[in-house]
């Protein structure tokens, strides 16, 4: 398989928003750690045994990141540093990295555009990944593009992005659900760790001979699980507090 099978994000240059679900202030603390998360200032040990603080991206596959809700003791991350913007027609090359254009849109210097380098990898303990230092989370599309490039770098095989999505869609759906659960729980004063445990127990609960986690594999059941989740969080933590003003459509805003 030639590297020309590597895909670029949909859309047109120079709009790279499709790669990210959140950057900078948009990153929510209650989103569980996931493949493609970018952190600043992570203590890593270099091959020479030196300890350095470096920005990194989690490149561990989502299926092998946790035992239940507990993160494994060693997670694979790749160093992130400045890199030029790679136009979409050049994403077929540079397979040793994941381009991160506009990673820091608030910055006007060259630091605005970066990349994660697969040949500069480290294993870190999850405690080193301080969620308050998370500066970006990839979107679903961004995550699959990362996995495609990482797989190609490791094996010289580039499965189509939509096939990677078919294989991992339920895992991303679970991460999304966990975020929604934790948002509901922490919004009503529940501790984040407890919220994760509650969510895990709820997903692992056996019903009709299977678990909700297993049911997420079936695309047509995901909406049902989301509806049940909203009901379950209300039963567990009480009804959502309406703390925000009721907005109406206006000419201002996105």
């Amino acid at each position: 398989v030639a590297s020309s099978d590597l895909e670029a994000p949909p859309g047109e240059d120079p709009n790279w928003d499709v790669l990210y679900v959140a950057r900078g202030d948009e990153v929510l603390a209650h989103r569980p750690l996931y493949t493609g998360d970018v952190f600043s200032g992570v203590a890593v040990r270099t091959t020479l045994g030196q300890e350095k603080n470096r920005p990194v991206m989690v490149i561990q596959h989502p299926c092998t990141m946790r035992n239940g809700v507990v993160l494994k003791e060693s997670l694979l991350v790749a160093r992130v540093h400045e890199f030029k913007v790679l136009p979409r027609d050049q994403w077929t090359t540079n397979e040793r990295l994941m381009p991160l254009p506009d990673l820091r849109p608030e910055v006007t210097s060259n630091q605005r555009h970066q990349a994660a380098f697969f040949d500069e990898g480290y294993f870190v303990h999850p405690d080193a990944l301080d969620l308050t230092k998370r500066i970006a989370c990839l979107s679903e599309i961004g995550t699959y593009l990362l996995l495609q490039r990482w797989v190609f770098h490791s094996s010289r095989v580039a499965p189509p992005r939509w096939k990677i999505e078919e294989m991992n869609g339920h895992v991303y759906a679970e991460a999304d659900l966990l975020e929604a659960w934790c948002e509901a729980a922490t919004g009503r004063g529940v501790d984040l760790v407890q919220a994760m445990r509650d969510a895990d127990a709820w997903l692992s609960e056996a019903r009709d001979g299977t678990t909700r986690r297993a049911m997420l594999r079936t695309t047509s059941l995901r909406s049902r699980i989301l509806r049940e989740m909203r009901q379950a969080t209300q039963e567990l933590y009480g009804p959502p507090a309406r703390i925000f003003p009721m907005p109406t459509a206006g000419m201002v805003g996105e």
Partner: protein, 218 residues
């Protein structure tokens, strides 16, 4: 409204008889049809197609009117109510963002009470009115699931992709259609879909119970 839409799908009895007549004509064993007979038949079929096309246009117009009526009701809601209704249906926030054409943080800001542009408000209202329509008139019991499930199992195009591409007419065609029409619909949505989504890879369940990728057996 349900009765209106049900009647839309039925052909008038005169049309039914015409179709039967054509089939009967075609069933007659003609060993060597004359040129004039073939010309007559072709002309007859052409006129029948014209009648059917008019009927299809009529159905589309009535669907559009029904959709606009539902949308008129939905735009009376606040943006927060619209988002809550979509969430209650089981739509994920990332899918709502994708269908409206904004980022997930933009949807989160709306949920926190920030104003949204009128264009986005109208798209949200349209999305919900389509959910109302397919639920009430096409008997789709779980609209959020319907939007998420692929049109053909081996092609990653979903009704939500059609909505994101502003192809609402195709969306409603699909809601009222069946699997036999899926390829025709995909031809309209993306004429190159067979090339775009040709692959030698397949997803399978590995021995550990997790999904994995492999090359298809030839």
């Amino acid at each position: 409204m349900l009765e209106d839409m049900t009647s839309l799908g039925a052909f008038p009895s005169s049309h039914t008889r015409t179709v039967v007549q054509v089939e009967e004509q075609a069933a007659v064993p003609v060993t060597q049809p004359s040129l004039s007979m073939l010309t007559d038949q072709a002309g007859f079929v052409r006129s029948l197609v014209g009648v059917l096309q008019e009927r299809i246009d009529d159905v589309h117009q009535q669907l559009r009117a029904s959709l606009l009526a539902r949308r008129a009701e939905r735009v009376k809601e606040t943006s927060t109510q619209l988002l809550d209704d979509l969430s209650d249906l089981g739509f994920a926030w990332r899918h709502i963002a994708m269908m409206i054409g904004v980022s997930v943080p933009a949807v989160q800001k709306w949920r926190r009470g920030e104003n949204m542009a009128t264009e986005n408000f109208e798209r949200l209202a349209l999305l919900l009115s389509i959910c109302d329509l397919i639920h009430d008139s096409f008997f789709v019991s779980d609209p959020a699931a319907w939007f998420e499930v692929r049109i053909l199992p081996e092609v990653p195009l979903r009704p939500m992709d059609l909505f994101a591409a502003h192809q609402e007419a195709l969306l409603l065609d699909w809601a009222g259609g069946n699997e036999k029409e899926a390829e025709r619909l995909l031809d309209k949505a993306d004429p190159q879909w067979r090339q775009h989504y040709a692959t030698d890879f397949e997803v399978y369940e590995a021995d550990d119970g997790e999904l994995a990728l492999r090359l298809k057996e030839r």
